[in-house]
Every structure is written in structure tokens, then in C-alpha cells.
């Protein structure tokens, strides 16, 4: 019953999106507003139907309806309800359902908010959204159909992959990632709409989608950080980033999106970089699809590999169509995208943005080439080669350091004109803070040039960006006699876009400091301990108290209780575990982390004697790692500040739409 409801909902949704997409160009050509409304109705109906299908699948999971292929594949009666619900995105088919749902939601929302805008931009954007939706429906009907029938109906299923039911972040990272990834379809659809409607020379598509882009970027940023956190908490190797193809797939579009968020300001302010921005946005979308293709098709080997089938060919066809159409449209429109302004002086805010874009693009190509290298090498020379962490680290460190530096210089430089004498005052706090951090890192024993530069520029960027808040608030205190906290709030509220950027910069600095410190000063040791014995790493002493085991509903847990000592006093316990799931012979390591302001004590249980007489643990001192997660939160705060909708939505060119006014009031 549930199965039929869901699969029919997808079938009907596919038919309606196809009809809507077919109708839209005629509606525009003939100027038929009633047809246009039908096209928009297709967008909304699609959302309703995909919501029905998604909820039906979730209901199937929760009610253990093993007659549904997907439930039989990932469900089990022993799995806790939370992990049962989120196994919606635990395997290929369910994740495509979720993708289609997020896409339908974005499409319905963005069309609804812009439905009264005259001109052909929104209709063509809606057309694009419908076409992309249709592709995902085709996947759901064809190679990724979760609603196949299972007969005879099994009484129980194997449950999700053990690694995917072992940590709560499984409920956080994937939805954030989809919200970010899929959200990039919105600005892309409007970019396509702008090109098809001939409105490409105006900045309207950019203004209309600005908040959507910032929000998607925020989700993607949060997803990447949450993914790092998850891998850190779950995988037991004490790291958070390994340049795995799947990690890279989320990072590559993030790089172009970040470049876009900056360069778009140059277009809005100066009318420059129009073609470039169009390329960045279209490129970001292509890269999200490319990333998905790389990770779902099994073309590149990765630890995250999804099960594969013919889906790769569908994605390939879609990428081919998108890539050809995008290149064709962008190049065809390039004549209309001449710059209105030009670079006046060599050292100005514009230059900082240009350099920033250059570095981000170089970064993107570095990661992309590194990820595709195994494929290219095999095609060109017939050899199996892959590039690993050393390549990525070597190539990206100089870029990261340069970007940190720019993040400090940029905000201090004025638009258009050369920097005046006040520049010194704006940079000074940064220089002081940077030098202090450089001294600190040298005192702490850091000898690598990159570590020193990273700390120097991180301090510099932090100082300059903080200084912007202090200066602005001080000016308000003087001018309006406001209290300092009030001045700060009003300052940010009055120019949320600008200060949201500075907040995000501060978040990046915190992440950079955490990454630099943990890669430079990490200490680790493995020890086999009998009860009462201790191990000391980086001045932290841990005593092995006991090993224990317990049976939980869906798994068996073996753990070791380790006591954190301060002299003879126990100041805390840390309990690394191994979880044994019935479907997997290998235990899932479950490290335990004790966080403090200065870093984490990270414990992983490596081995144990059955009788509990000894255990082998890996102890890692991870300096400043918590600051990466704090930085991630600050970045999100920046994104929220920048994307939060308010009454000051940019006026659309057509003021003659009363519904819009009512809606906005």
C-alpha cells in the first residue's frame, strides 16, 4: 500500500514535471499568462507529490514494511527509530529520493517568492528547475528505484551499514550537505533563466538569488565541517580530512561558490566580472552534479563508495547535457556581458577580490585534477596511479596561506581608490595579533614554515576583521551616544551583508588555526595496559581502570574505562568502545573524545583481551581541534546573518504586482 502510494506519486510527479517543462517555453513565447500559471502549478504539485513519496518511504521504514525494496535493504527491527528514519539517506536509492525532495522544495519556494515578477527570467528558471527535477524522477523510476516489491516479504532486514548507525551526526551531515548541494540549483536555474530570457546583462538574477546562494553556501559549509567532525568522531584515526574523492566532491563546488560570493560584489558595485560570475555559478552547479557522478557511479575508488549499477550512465548523460548546454549558453551570451567599469587602481578592494578569485579557482582546479588524476592517468598511460594526501597538502598549503593573508588585507582596502594613510591604522591590530601568534607558535615548537605563516596570517586576518567591528561600533558610540553592545548590534543590523562576511572570516580563521595547530602539534601513542597502568601523552596521564562489555538491542559493545589523572586524582573518565553489529564481522571502532579549550584527548580502543586483563589503546592529543567546530559554528552564524530574509528584499523591477506587496508586508 505504502509502496504503491510512493511509487505512483513519483510516476505522476515525473509526468507533471515533464508536462510543465514542455508547456513553459510555449507559455513564454505566446505570452500566455494562464499557461505560465499552469507551469508554476507543476512546480508546486511536484513538491507535494515528492513530499508524499518521501513521507511514504519514511513511513515504510518506521513501520518496518519489508515489502518495499529499500526498507528490506536498509531496515531492521532492532535499529533504533532515529537511525531508522535517517536511513532514508543511508543508501543510494533513498538518498536520491531525499535529493529529489530537497530540490522540489527549493523549486517550489523560489518560484513562489518570485511568481509575480514580470519578464521571462522566472519562467525560464522554473523550466530549468523542472528539467533538473525530471532527471531525478527518471533516476527514481529507473536505476535508483527504492519502491520495488519484495516477495515473499522478509520478516526482518539487515539494518543500515554499521558505520551509518553509529553516530548522531549521521542525522546532521547528510541533510546539510543536500541542502547545500541541491540549493546551488537555484542560482544556476536563475542564471540559465537570465540567459534564455535575454536578461543576462542585468544583475537581477544575482539579486533575486543572493539569499538563496548565501543560504546554500552556509548549508554546504556547515555540511563540510559536520562531515569533518563526523569522520573525526567515528572513524577512529584521529583525523578529520583525508582528501578522499567524496570529501573533495563536496569541497570543489564550495570553492567556486565561495569565489562567487566575493566576485559578485565586484559586479554589483562596479559592473565588472559579469561573464566570470556567470561561469562561477554555472560551474558550481556542474561541479555538484560532477561530484555526485564521481561518487555514485563507482568511476573513482573511494572509501565512501555507494553501491553502483547503471546509475553512472544516467548521470553521465545528464552531465553531458548540462555541460554542453551550459557551455553553449554562456559562450553564446558572452558578447552581452562586457564590463561596465574597469580596474582603476592596482591596490584596491577590487584587486583583493580578483586575487581571491584567482586563488580559489586555482584551488578548485588543484583539487579537481587531483581527484580525477587516477582516471586521467589510466586513460593516458594505462597505469593505475592515484595522488594522495601529500599532493593535496603540498599544493593547497600555499593557496590557503595566501587566502588567509588576503582575508586580512581585503577588508581594510577601500573600493575604487588607492589606500590612504588610514590603511595603517586598519592593519595595525592585525599585524600585532599576527606577530603575537607567530611568536606563540615558535615558542610552542612549531618549525615548519607553513605553520608559522598560517598562524601569522590567521592572527593578521583575525585582527583586521575584529578591528572592523570595533571601529564601526566606536563610530556609532561617538555619533549616536549608544552603549557599546547596542552600537555593535545596530552596526551589524544596519549593514548585515558586509558584517556577515567579516563574521564568516573570523570563522575561517578559527578553522584555520585549529587545522594548523592539530597538524603541527598532534601527539599520539599506542599502549597496551593492564588494569591500573598508565600512559602519558603530551602531559596528559590516563589510567586503565577496566574493560567491560554489554549487550544492546542492535549491537554488542566492548568498552574500556580510562581515567584521566591529575596527579593521584581522577578528573574524568573516557570510554572508547568497539561496537559489534550482527551484519558485520568487523567491529566498528567508536573512539571517545574529551574536549577542552586547548584541545582534545582522543582515545581509540584498538584491541582487548577477552578476559579483560589488558587492552591496547591509541591516545592522541589533538591541540585546538575543538576550535575547528567552533569556527564552523561562527561560519554558519555569518551565513545566517547574510541570508536571513528581511523586509528589505530588493525591489523587483515591476512594482505593479499587488500580491507581492501584500506578501512582503
Amino acid at each position: 500500500m505504502t509502496r504503491l502510494l510512493a511509487s505512483n506519486a513519483i510516476l505522476v510527479a515525473a509526468a507533471i514535471t515533464a508536462l510543465g517543462a514542455f508547456l513553459m517555453p510555449f507559455a513564454v513565447r505566446r505570452g500566455r499568462r494562464d499557461w505560465l500559471m499552469l507551469g508554476y502549478a507543476a512546480v508546486y504539485t511536484n513538491f507535494v507529490l515528492v513530499t508524499v513519496a518521501t513521507l511514504a518511504l519514511v513511513w515504510g521504514l518506521v513501520s518496518h514494511d519489508f515489502s518495499i525494496a529499500y526498507v528490506a535493504q536498509v531496515g531492521s527491527r532492532a535499529t533504533p527509530t532515529f537511525y531508522t528514519i535517517i536511513s532514508l539517506w543511508g543508501a543510494l536509492e533513498g538518498s536520491i529520493v531525499f535529493w529529489a525532495w530537497v530540490l522540489a522544495m527549493y523549486g517550489a519556494a523560489v518560484v513562489w517568492f518570485n511568481r509575480n515578477r514580470e519578464g521571462n527570467l522566472v519562467p525560464y528558471a522554473a523550466l530549468t528547475l523542472l528539467v533538473v527535477s525530471l532527471f531525478f524522477h527518471v533516476l527514481l523510476i529507473g536505476p535508483a528505484n527504492p519502491f520495488g516489491a519484495v516477495f515473499p516479504v522478509p520478516f526482518d532486514g539487515p539494518g543500515p551499514n554499521p558505520l551509518l548507525q553509529n553516530h548522531i551526526l549521521m542525522g546532521v551531515h547528510p541533510p546539510l550537505l543536500y541542502l547545500g548541494y541541491v540549493g546551488m540549483t537555484v542560482p544556476f536555474a536563475f542564471a540559465v533563466g537570465a540567459m534564455l530570457s535575454g536578461e543576462v546583462a542585468s544583475d537581477d538574477w544575482i539579486r533575486l538569488t543572493r539569499r538563496w546562494t548565501v543560504a546554500s553556501w552556509g548549508f554546504l559549509t556547515a555540511a563540510i565541517i559536520a562531515g569533518m567532525w563526523w569522520s573525526y568522531e567515528v572513524l577512529g584515526w584521529g583525523g578529520y580530512w583525508a582528501w578522499d574523492p567524496v570529501e573533495n566532491a563536496s569541497f570543489i563546488p564550495w570553492l567556486t561558490a565561495t569565489a562567487y560570493l566575493h566576485s559578485v560584489m565586484v559586479q554589483e558595485r562596479r559592473g565588472m566580472l559579469k561573464l566570470w560570475n556567470l561561469n562561477l555559478m554555472v560551474g558550481t552547479f556542474v561541479l555538484t552534479i560532477l561530484g555526485t557522478f564521481l561518487t555514485r557511479s563507482g568511476i573513482i575508488s573511494s572509501v565512501h563508495a555507494f553501491t553502483t549499477g547503471t546509475i553512472g550512465y544516467f548521470f553521465l548523460a545528464f552531465i553531458g547535457i548540462v555541460l554542453i548546454a551550459a557551455l553553449f549558453m554562456v559562450a553564446g551570451n558572452s558578447d552581452r556581458l562586457a564590463s561596465d567599469g574597469k580596474l582603476d587602481v592596482p591596490v584596491s578592494r577590487e584587486t583583493a577580490f580578483l586575487l581571491q578569485n584567482l586563488f580559489f579557482t586555482a584551488f578548485m582546479f588543484t583539487v579537481l585534477i587531483g581527484t580525477l588524476f587516477p582516471l586521467v592517468a589510466e586513460a593516458a598511460r594505462g597505469v593505475k596511479v592515484s595522488v594522495g594526501e601529500p599532493f593535496f597538502n603540498k599544493m593547497s598549503l600555499p593557496l590557503m596561506v595566501a587566502l588567509l593573508f588576503l582575508m586580512g588585507v581585503g577588508p581594510a582596502l577601500p573600493w575604487r581608490k588607492a589606500a590612504g594613510p588610514e590603511l595603517k591604522g586598519r592593519l595595525l591590530p592585525g599585524i600585532v595579533l599576527g606577530v603575537l601568534m607567530l611568536v606563540a607558535v615558535i615558542v610552542a615548537g612549531g618549525r615548519s614554515v607553513y605553520a608559522m605563516l598560517a598562524f601569522l596570517f590567521a592572527g593578521f586576518a583575525l585582527g583586521v576583521n575584529l578591528q572592523e567591528f570595533v571601529r564601526g561600533a566606536n563610530a556609532r558610540v561617538k555619533a549616536h551616544g549608544e552603549s557599546w553592545p547596542m552600537a555593535l548590534v545596530r552596526l551589524v543590523a544596519g549593514n548585515r551583508r558586509r558584517y556577515s562576511g567579516y563574521v564568516a572570516h573570523i570563522g575561517v580563521v578559527l578553522v584555520a588555526v585549529g587545522v594548523a595547530a592539530s597538524s603541527t602539534f598532534k601527539k599520539e601513542q599506542e599502549a597496551t595496559l593492564k588494569p591500573g597502568e598508565t600512559v602519558t601523552v603530551a602531559g596528559k596521564t590516563l589510567r586503565f581502570k577496566s574493560a567491560w562489555g554489554r549487550q544492546e538491542r542492535q549491537r554488542e559493545v566492548i568498552g574500556a574505562t580510562m581515567e584521566l589523572m591529575d596527579g593521584d586524582r581522577v578528573i574524568g573518565t573516557i570510554e572508547p568502545r568497539m561496537n559489534y553489529y550482527p551484519t558485520s564481522q568487523q567491529p566498528v571502532p567508536t573512539p571517545d573524545v574529551r574536549s577542552g579549550w586547548t584541545g582534545d584527548i582522543y582515545l581509540n580502543l584498538m584491541a582487548f583481551k577477552q578476559d579483560g586483563s589488558n587492552v591496547t589503546v591509541k591516545v592522541i592529543w589533538e591541540p585546538l581541534v575543538p576550535w575547528i567546530w567552533i569556527g564552523g559554528l561562527v561560519l554558519c552564524l555569518g551565513a545566517i546573518l547574510g541570508a536571513w530574509p528581511t523586509g528589505d528584499r530588493p525591489a523587483t523591477r515591476t512594482a505593479g504586482a499587488p500580491a507581492l506587496r501584500e506578501g512582503a508586508a
Partner: protein, 211 residues
């Protein structure tokens, strides 16, 4: 609309798409071995599990690959911690028994494991018909470029690697390879066409090996 520029730009997508299309036909997890067609790396390893009946060799006996010239050798790398090895265990024992008395030597090589555990595993699995040797320090595994277990190497009578198989083998594959190598070892007769080693050296890759 600049049609010319648009067409040129769109054409640049072709090589990218071609690369991906080609990539889809490849298995990214397969690691081609340069060994097939070459002289097999020699070794001298001590037996820790004797095997049964006619196939048995005493524990502690040293197996030298050089001494096996003239026989087809099936070298199976395995470990007690390897799950996929359980799948092929029965198959290998069974097929090996069928070749008793023929110029074929089946040999298990224990990889990254201790003989005690290996012996216990064999007992748990209900015995193994052919002997297994220990490979301390995985020296021989390294010589053979082992990527994971199980991997099975088929050596021809002249001591060359004819074929490598990744993942659990099936009875059909083992019989096919051993028969063709035995046929090649005899003077060619009209009824038994010799299979060239190179022909048998095509990559066969199956997932399911433990890395």
C-alpha cells in the same frame, strides 16, 4: 547570441564526457598485476598445516618453488581474519582433491597471520586438503604484489605466473585454469589445443577481497 563561439565552447565538453564514458567501463578497484607472463618469484617456506591424504606434506617441511618445476602450481594467499577466504575454502579443498595424483600442486600461503590461528581456522572450517605454508613478515606476499586476500596465482609448469585471480575463486575458474595449464605443459595434441599463458592472463577482478 554568438553561435560560433557557443558551438566551439560546447565542443570542448566532448573530451571530458568521453573520458568519463571510458572511465565507466573500468573498475577503479582493480589493480592490474604485472606478474602474469613473467617468472614467478621463488620462495622457500615452511609448512604449518599439513593437508590431508595424498596431498599432505609434513609440518615443518620446506616447500621450495624451484622444486615444483614441471607441475602446475596454484598459490592461494589467505588469512584466518579474511572473510572472503571462507567462501572459497571448501571450493579449493574440493578441487585440489580432484587433482590428486596429477602434476598439480595446491599450496596455501598464510598472509599477515600467525600459524596457530591459521591451524585453528582450518580446523573450524573442517580441514583443508592441501598444505599451507607460513609467510613470516609477508615477504613472499610482497614479492607477489599482494593487494589483499584472497588472491590466487596460477603458475605454469615452467614456473611462470600465468594468471592471477582476486577475490574468492570458484571451482569452474580453478578447473579451467589448471586444465589449460596442464594441457599446455604436455606436447600439443590435436585434441588438446595448448592455451597460451598470455591468453589466460586477462585480468579477472572480483570485489570481495579483504584489503
Amino acid at each position: 547570441m554568438n553561435w560560433k563561439r557557443a558551438s566551439i565552447a560546447a565542443a570542448t565538453a566532448a573530451p571530458v564526457i568521453a573520458l568519463f564514458a571510458w572511465g565507466l567501463t573500468r573498475d577503479p578497484n582493480s589493480i592490474p598485476s604485472p606478474l602474469p607472463g613473467r617468472e614467478a618469484p621463488t620462495f622457500a617456506l615452511a609448512v604449518f598445516a599439513p593437508g590431508q591424504g595424498d596431498l599432505a606434506r609434513p609440518v615443518g617441511d620446506t616447500v621450495r618453488l624451484d622444486a615444483l618445476r614441471g607441475k602446475v602450481v596454484v598459490l592461494n594467499f589467505w588469512a584466518s581474519w579474511c572473510l572472503a577466504c571462507r567462501d572459497e575454502h571448501e571450493v579449493l579443498s574440493e578441487v585440489a582433491r580432484g587433482y590428486a595424483g596429477k602434476p598439480v600442486q595446491f599450496l596455501g600461503v598464510l598472509y599477515n597471520d600467525v600459524p596457530d590461528k591459521g591451524t585453528a581456522w582450518i580446523a573450524e572450517m573442517g580441514g583443508q586438503s592441501y598444505p599451507s605454508v607460513d609467510d613470516p613478515g609477508a615477504r613472499v606476499a610482497i614479492d607477489y604484489g599482494l593487494y589483499g586476500v584472497p588472491e590466487t596465482f596460477f603458475l605454469d609448469a615452467s614456473g611462470r605466473v600465468a594468471y592471477k585471480y582476486t577475490g574468492p575463486v570458484t571451482a569452474g575458474i580453478v578447473r579451467l585454469k589448471v586444465d589449460s595449464l596442464m594441457a599446455a605443459a604436455q606436447p600439443a595434441t590435436p585434441t588438446a589445443p595448448a592455451a597460451a599463458p598470455a591468453e589466460a592472463a586477462g585480468p579477472a577482478n572480483k570485489t570481495g577481497s579483504d584489503k
